[in-house]
């Protein structure tokens, strides 16, 4: 699987307006809805589900990145987006450090294998120091898109 198969380019947010975790999650889910990847009327429910998921255990796995995700019946097709924060977000991360790069993934509730494959490809990129550093330095949607394309090509 490739990042380009589920990351919606139009939904990428190079500079998040929100600075609080829950507001960031809403901003990113709304962006996916704006791009047509999720029905607008599902935003509230999906955001609530992601917040609940975060409360069960932070997806801020350390090193300045977080990967909030949820499997939800209102999601008909897997979709993801990337958000960058200049100021840093308190995600209650495992290493207690602020989060600067967020990869959000929405999956249908009945395709666990596809979800695992997507998490595999996201984490394969995020565990690379160079990828994290370049993502943090990418200040435009196009730059982020190009970084994702390079990751897909195995560069």
């Amino acid at each position: 699987m490739k990042l380009s198969e589920f990351i919606v380019p139009e939904a990428i947010i190079p500079a998040l307006e929100s600075t609080e975790r829950d507001a960031v999650l809403r901003e990113m889910v709304s962006s996916l809805a704006d791009a047509g990847a999720l029905p607008r009327e599902a935003i509230d429910e999906v955001v609530a589900a992601i917040i609940k998921r975060e409360q069960n255990g932070s997806t801020g796995f350390g090193k300045g990145v977080a990967v909030p995700h949820v499997k939800h019946p209102k999601v008909k097709k897997m979709a993801g987006t990337v958000g960058r924060s200049e100021t840093g977000i308190d995600f209650a991360a495992l290493d207690h450090q602020p989060v600067y790069s967020v990869v959000l993934l929405l999956s249908p509730d009945n395709q666990p294998q596809q979800h695992l494959q997507a998490m595999n490809i996201i984490f394969s990129s995020l565990q690379k120091d160079m990828f994290r550093r370049f993502l943090r330095q990418s200040t435009t949607r196009q730059a982020i898109q190009e970084l994702l394309e390079e990751a897909d090509q195995g560069k």
Binding site: N56, G57, T59, F61, H69, K71, L94, P112, Q113, H115, L116, Q117, M119, N120, F123, S124, L126, Q127
Partner: protein, 92 residues
């Protein structure tokens, strides 16, 4: 001391984030080094104490795993981690 045992992932959603967190939490309580080998069509290895590496395994339901431990509490570690996988991590 080394210990090793095979177990098959049986919860429907596979080794997604929550089961990984439970596994890594438990593995981290042991002094032994813990390695997880994923068998099946796409074999891979992970440090059993690393959340990122374990998520990258993307082990789905039905996937065989081999849990290897090396250290003073190896037997106990393998036994308890296998039991955790067999319990479906408390999920369906």
């Amino acid at each position: 001391m080394t210990a090793s045992k095979e177990v098959v992932i049986s919860n429907v959603h596979g080794l997604h984030t929550r089961p990984v967190m439970k596994f890594v939490d438990m593995a981290s309580q042991f002094a032994s080094e813990i390695k997880v080998h994923k068998g099946g069509a796409e074999p891979a290895d992970a440090d059993g104490k690393s959340v990122m590496q374990m998520i990258i395994l993307a082990a789905e339901a039905g996937t065989p795993l081999r849990i290897d431990a090396e250290g003073e509490d190896a037997d106990q570690a393998v036994e308890q981690l296998v039991a955790l996988v067999e319990s479906k991590f408390g999920e369906d």
